[in-house]
Amino acid sequence: MTETMDRAGSAQVVDALLQADKVTMKFGGLVANRDVDFVIPRGSIVSLIGPNGAGKTTFFNQLTGMLEPTSGEITFNGKSIIGRTPYEIVEMGIGRTFQNIRLFGAMTVLANVMVGRHVRMHSSWWGSLLRLPAVRAEEEDTKRRAQELLERVGLPRRYEEDWAKNLPYGDQRRLELARALASEPKLLLLDEPTAGMNPGETAQMTDLIKQLRDELDLTVLLIEHDMKVVMGISERITVLDHGELLAEGKPEEIRANPAVIEAYLGKQATE
């Protein structure tokens, strides 16, 4: 335990895009996160793993402003995000996807991505009413960028005017990714991006995530259950158990960590 704390401590020296210090989240008597220290180095791909109920999603929701920590501090790019609303946090540069895909089903594929760019647009309601030239230009620009993003995540152009909810499952995941990217995030939070996918789709998705990170200068944090994905993609891994930090390190260190094997991997290793 002390060893992992030391690792977390030493990691603070690196250029941290996001840093959480002693984050505690209590729901009444239930402690979902206790004193979690967490660092995401700029440009890295970091995974957050742990058994069910370990407090991963709760922690995630504090990063996106959907929950406010009971105590502790979270800074992004040097600024505190505590007390900020979800849309302010999107504006600061954190984008996310959802574990159970949550697209705007009755909007077109293109419109879903365009909504994602909302925070980077400036058109006011009266500008839209008057169809000012600037508003029209921005609308065109947004549409073009959205099309580019769809291409980037690998959605064919013929899907543009389809309803989001009619897309095949794997493509819905891609669309969610495009919507998150539309806000030009510096940090992308992915909640189980390969859940429900077959091995082929999973491999494609992991490649896509790596490729996006390289091309768009992203930093990525993902929650993932698929150990193959986690070990294959992550540069660092953080393990939560019972709401507390259990271990932190490189994939090979985590794989070798006895505490982690006992709490989490042990079950899988015997299988």
């Binding site: 996106t64 959907m66 609303t85 979800p86 849309y87 999107v90 504006e91 996310r96 959802f98 949550r102 705007f104 089903g105 009755a106 909007m107 419109a111 365009m114 909504v115 994602g116 909302h118 925070v119 647009m121 058109s123 309601w125 839209s128 009413l129 169809r131 508003v135 921005e138 609308e139 947004t142 309803w163 909810k165 009619n166 919507r179 806000s183």
Partner: protein
Amino acid sequence: MSTLLRRALMMGLFGGIAGVHVSLVGIVNTFQTRDLIADIVTIGSVLPMLIAIMVGWLAGSTPKHIPRPSGSTTLVHGAMAGGVVGVVLAALALLVDSVSLTWILVNARPQLANILYFEQGPGLGSVILIAGGVLLGVAGAGLHLLPRTIARALAISGVVTIIAALMEPFVGAVLRNVELRAIEGFLYQSGGLTVQGFILVFVLIAAGIYGWAKRGDRAKARVAAMPPDRRRAGKLIAYGVLFAILLILPQIVGQRLSEVVGTVGIYILLGLGLNIVVGFAGLLDLGYVAFFAVGAYTTALLTSPASPVLNPELPFWGALPFVIMAAALVGLAVGAPVLRLRGDYLAIVTLGFGEIAREIFKSAWAQPVTGGAQGILSVPEPLPFTRDPQSIYYPILFFCIIAAIAATRLAASRVGRAWNAMREDESVAEATGINTVKYKLLAFSLGAAFGCLSGAFFGTKIGVVFPDSFNILVSINALALIVLGGMGNIAGVMVGALVLVGLPELLREFAEYRLLIYGVVLVVMMILRPEGLLPSRSRRVELHDVSDEDDDDMYTDEAGIDTGRPVVST
């Protein structure tokens, strides 16, 4: 007994009960004064027939989990159901004829029996009634055996033809106004359609609907294939023609109809505003009448010599900017406290706001300013336009056009997308970067502005503003018209206003049953076409699990595995 047969008999029984109800509340008697086909069939006697057809249709439908029976079985089920309706109504006629029930049921007069017997006396009448029920039940069930497009064309055409007959006084007046007496004589006679008129209207409408179902897609594809500048030109011409017609409309339709058109216009404005709040942003507001009232009262207070607020008073147009400002403020005032509420809770709180608004204007406390229950008299006319229905039509038209353009532009903008996203999933919208607080308040304020504008014209149109005009029925009406027309769609709002406000205004003679008919129409709509008459594309996707190209969902709901082709047995 098979499930389907039992179901058919139950349908027949329900139909019979509906028929008894319709007869005893007096609708049949009232409609007896109007002819569907001159001197042959009255609308009153058509009502039981319609019930038999509908029951037959329902009895012929198959629930999803049951395999489709053969064609002849379907017809038999229809016949059974229709027959039951006939038997129940014959029993009613017999009862009414032999026992005097008028002391408890005022409409149970021998005259009712006479109508039900088709004026043929009890013996032959009962036979006609039951045999007719069977035949019409078969006809209704037979709709399932026809190709879907044809069945649909026949059903819609039937309804439209009946409406055409009911509209005789107005369509006739319009035809006289534009000097087309010959056509009037051909179509109408003594308050109903002529035989040739009936056939012509029915066939034309059915053929039109069928043709559109068959060829419409191809026509649409052709339009889509046109070069953009030609399509644009075509669109402009279409709008131009529409605008030209709208400009001369009051002259075509005459004084009495212009009055109705003006009322419809006021409700279109109201509907467009409520559509922003409910249709775009998804905030169910049941107290929208509050904005309507604020608009009317602000106008009256600033312009009427009878109000003590300003002296000298503003002219109508001078007051309008203040009305819109008041609207935005009231929108914020209503919106701010309900920001955290969702769905049902929001609906209940806004319902309260609507009632509070009226009570405030009515209260003794506000009486020195608002005149209490007497209201404010002598609201001036919107000069240079007068209160004359053919004149005030123009400013209302102008603002309806402005509102429609504004709503269209907003819907297709960053703002519209944000509302749309918020309506679908508020927390995801927020996580996607939308400031939901801001966009809720914006929706309330803009919706309030349209509502107040509508109220201002309501005030100046009737010249008096008093609190009881602003009851909950206005809110319900506005909501019902956008639901019926197709939520989220601007053309839908207009159609909804025409159907829900225009038709009842024209059919004043049936005012007594207005809410009853209203209720039936809404229930039927929600079953057959929950997305409304002209839904926005996205609304249809939400309410039906079908791709957007599937237009023929009307009959699939009941028929389930309907393949679109008849199942004929040997």
